[in-house]
Amino acid sequence: MELNDQKEALRGEHVLQYPYRRATGPILGRFFTEIRDHKRLLGVKTAAGQILCPPVEADPDTLEDLSVEDLVEVGPAGHVTSWTWLNEPRPGNPLEHSFAWALIKLDGADSALLHAVDAGSESAMRTGMRVVARFCDERNGDIRDITCFVPED
């Protein structure tokens, strides 16, 4: 018997899955809890007085732990600081039709949150445009509880 490498190789679908569950820490835990229970967005105030949203567990300047006491309400509206248009969403993306991935600086925050903007078309997107969060009816306590952001009326 001879090995024939001219014959077409067999191929098949292969799916590799990692069922991760990540611990949030107290600050992000509160961030997701507030979204789920009250549709409220929180940022965290650092020692230098900056308000970061999404909040972080440690102060990026001093590296000291931040506390849930440092959380303040931001948004739910804000403006787009940067964006890219996605013509063909992939499985698992927040929307099934074309949308923009955008960095959104919520009102009251000094840093930007990455989320989807459902603007209808690329021509409707502008850096600096005003957007507002749209929340899901059924919320589970993660970032998908925000369906997307939409242009503010």
């Binding site: 018997m1 001879e2 090995l3 024939n4 490498d5 014959k7 077409e8 190789a9 067999l10 191929r11 098949g12 679908e13 292969h14 799916v15 590799l16 899955q17 990692y18 069922p19 991760y20 569950r21 990540r22 611990a23 949030t24 835990g29 509160r30 997701f32 809890t33 789920r36 229970d37 698992g92 589970n140 306590g141 993660d142 970032i143």
Partner: protein
């Protein structure tokens, strides 16, 4: 999924990677044969060692390997691990053993499940044989072999295994 009214302490972030996977010429040959219930290896022209599943070139000498050899569905356990931990999506009842099995006529090991053998009785040198699915269910898949089970024959003596492992260490 978090429970309502309980503070969120973790989030699910599953990752799913979808591949269109090509197994290559060597394993395609192997899988087409296993559809027929045959197990193939390829022989190194320089050392004579038989690799299962077939490879296109020798691991030791890099020579092209063209000669295919049919090997037995019986072999010897060289080493094994016992799975004692429950994990996501697990279908087998713990504890169970996975073994490196060198099939008769082969110089490299394949890994497969051992059943019909209490894990306490697992040992290197144990002779095992394949338990196949019903012929009507055969596809191009190693799962045509459901598992390996002990044959009940006398073990390969441990000294011989060590010698064989030294000889086969490059296979």
């Amino acid at each position: 999924m978090s429970e309502p009214n309980k503070p969120v302490t973790s989030v699910k972030t599953p990752i799913s990677l979808h591949y269109d996977y090509s197994v290559g010429a060597g394993s395609s040959t192997f899988l087409r044969a296993i559809r027929e219930g045959r197990i193939l290896g390829s022989r190194c022209p320089d050392t004579g060692k038989v690799y299962v599943p077939p490879r296109l070139s020798s691991v030791e000498t890099a020579s092209p390997m063209r000669e295919l050899v049919e090997v037995s569905d019986r072999g010897v356990v060289y080493t094994y691990c016992i799975v004692n931990i429950q994990f996501y999506d697990q279908v087998l009842e713990i504890p169970y053993a996975y073994a490196y099995i060198v099939l008769d006529g082969a110089d490299s090991a394949i890994m497969h499940l051992i059943q019909e053998c209490p894990v306490e009785e697992m040992r290197p040198g144990m002779k095992v044989q394949a338990v196949w699915k019903d012929r009507s269910e055969w596809t191009e898949s190693m799962e045509n072999i459901r598992y390996f089970k002990p044959t009940g024959e006398a073990d390969l003596p441990i000294g011989e295994i060590m010698d064989e492992i030294r000889k086969k260490s490059h296979a």
